[in-house]
Amino acid sequence: MHRRYIIALTLALIAAGCSQQSSQTSSSTSTSASSAATSAAATSGTTSNAAGGTVIKIGVDLPVSGADASIGVPTQYGAQLAVKQANEKHLVPGFTFEADVLDDAVNGVHDPAQGAKNIQSFGADPAVLGVVGPFNSNVARAEIPLSNSLQLALISPSNTNPTLTKGPDAVAMRKDHPDQIAYFRVCTTDDIQGPAGAAYEYTKLHVKNAYVVDDNETYGKGVADQWEGAFKKLGGTSLGHDHITKGQQDFHALLTRIANTHPDIVFFGGNSSTGGGLIRKQMPDAGLGSVIYAGADGISDNQFLQDAGSTADNVYVTVASVNAAKLPAAAQFLKDYQAEYNQPVGPYSANAYTAAMVMIRAIGEAVKANGGKAPTREQVLAQLRMTKDFPSVIGTFSFDANGDTTNRIISIYEAVKGKWVFVTQQNFAGSP
């Protein structure tokens, strides 16, 4: 008897699954292999302004839950604000934009496989003409081959690992369409960010002996290696270099080992979600409380401040972008953002806004070139590749042949008693 019941139940469930899916046009159909995997809190929000016309979707793939949320959500808001304004200003007449947000964090930490699944989801939706994201470089490594194969434009607000666009790895990731890059970014790279941080800390903070720790991810290890190389070139000494494990909570043993080498500075390559704040928090326990702690943009968020608590002091970070507050062009953006979300911008909000705006502009150009009809993804990409001297809230820039921005500005911030304080910013526009 119950066998029949179960078969019926199975069929009903399949049917239910289908109908739920179709009633939720913007929802994610993919999840991670992990049972515990969830698309989390802020996922799958759809921003639309009923301005009429054909709907064009801009995918947004960011980590917007868990420890990554404190940096991911303000970034998401930047992209959503651009979409909202594009609709209000009718930037592309006859078309309405929608931001389709998917979370690439699993259990609160960015996850490459989840990112890849998200891009496949976007790829499956013909209304998606481009994607803003991802946030993390290891997620980008997973997504770039996909976006290249699908010829679906991918613009990252924040990926800083240089190998994503340059060198043999980058070439390998474009294997389906080697000459038609589909991945762009609006921030500069770690081969600039790492050395810029090292130079600041070596010359301005007068530290000579460093201990380097990283989370062994594309971004974390990459920026740590860049920083360490530059630091040594300047004359500094690297006392050691260790990798930590994602999900680790106890760093006392590692910090005791570090303390035994008596460093002036501990550099962490990684994110707050992979342990950046916890290490700082436990440093005093090992007698490293007065040692300078430095990192890059991965820990330049509120989650770091919260995790580190009272030890969020004497910490220096670099951010691979301008401080929008210092740019006249960004004043209106900052005001609009504040009005919309009632909170200050995150370090990459302006970048995401810019990434979405660049995308919208390219779509607009493609529509024009297509005689007012909805363009193909290839047509959008063709326009993106031609982006030149685009005036944006983070300065005027072009995309080079690799998809990198010509805008190479590094900002430096310091955590002072639990708050990020802008210190300085440097333009490396001339560097290779």
Partner: protein, 360 residues
Amino acid sequence: MDARVRLPLGLGEVAVWQALGLLAIVALFALYPVIDRNIGHVSAVADAGYFLLLVFGLNIVVGFAGLLDLGYAAFFAIGAYTYAMVASTQFNLHLNFWPMLIGSACVAALFGVILGFPTLRLRGDYLAIVTLGFGEIVPQVFLNLDKYTGGPNGISNVDQPVFFGHAFGFNPVPYYYLYLVVALISLVLLNNLRRSRLGRAWMAIREDELAATHMGVNPVTTKLLAFAMGASFAGLAGCIYAAKLTLISPDEFNFSVSVTILSAIVLGGMGSLLGAFIGGLLLALLNFMVLPQVTNWTHALGTALHNEAIQNADLHYIIYGLILVLVMLFRPEGLISNASRRAELHHGQPATSAAAAGVE
């Protein structure tokens, strides 16, 4: 009255309505990508394929042979990494997918034997704990050997299959059919295996190892064959999984994967192939389709009500946990179980201890 038909491929004799039902289910699965034109849905249902293969494989180890394995995801990882390492830019080897489908299964089977060997003397919970240990060690080793495995970034750019000149690409439909074909072959294979000499030996070991040994069953080869064959299914699943996603990372193979596979088997009904199939399908649908929707619904509800708490609510864990608890409480023997087994399991009264069962 009850007309019966004999199914082909040794699937046995069933009532007509059951045969028709089976046919309808197979037809539904075969036609699904035609019925549902949404590529995203097809992709999600295709992903249920690798999960089903994993359930089938673990069912050999846990269901047939009664060896409690809490680290089965390790073999899934081994299968996926095997293919990813030899068919990607990692070492610039680009071995063909089809032979590697068998190759990954063989490598996983080999590791099934290697990891199974030290556990031969162990029983019950001890075996479970050792396998749990392996399940923790294997992904961690993949994570740490970053020179070969890409570390936490995993291996991207994994080659996709090409079938007689037709590239699978990122279209989920061919993967869907690949899973369907492999799963159907597996089902027929397992069904025959269960009633083979080896299958009977597994069940004899499961019921009473000592008695089985006296009856001439060699426990060493019987158990190792269970580990090897179980692992080979995980190898198959890992290979297709890596090819479909074009990327693998060590996080994909953690304890919760092992646990979800195991709960599918227990939920379906231990030792029953139909149970494993139904349990696997239900949990796959639950985890890949239904529960992710719940998050979207609560989010939408929260947005509509302007309630941030509801908007950020994540009921996935809670609902999933509740389902596991409630099903076990009310059907501890699983959804599908034969009558004799049920009778045997329901004797327990509040004051009777496990030892009392030995009295009857």
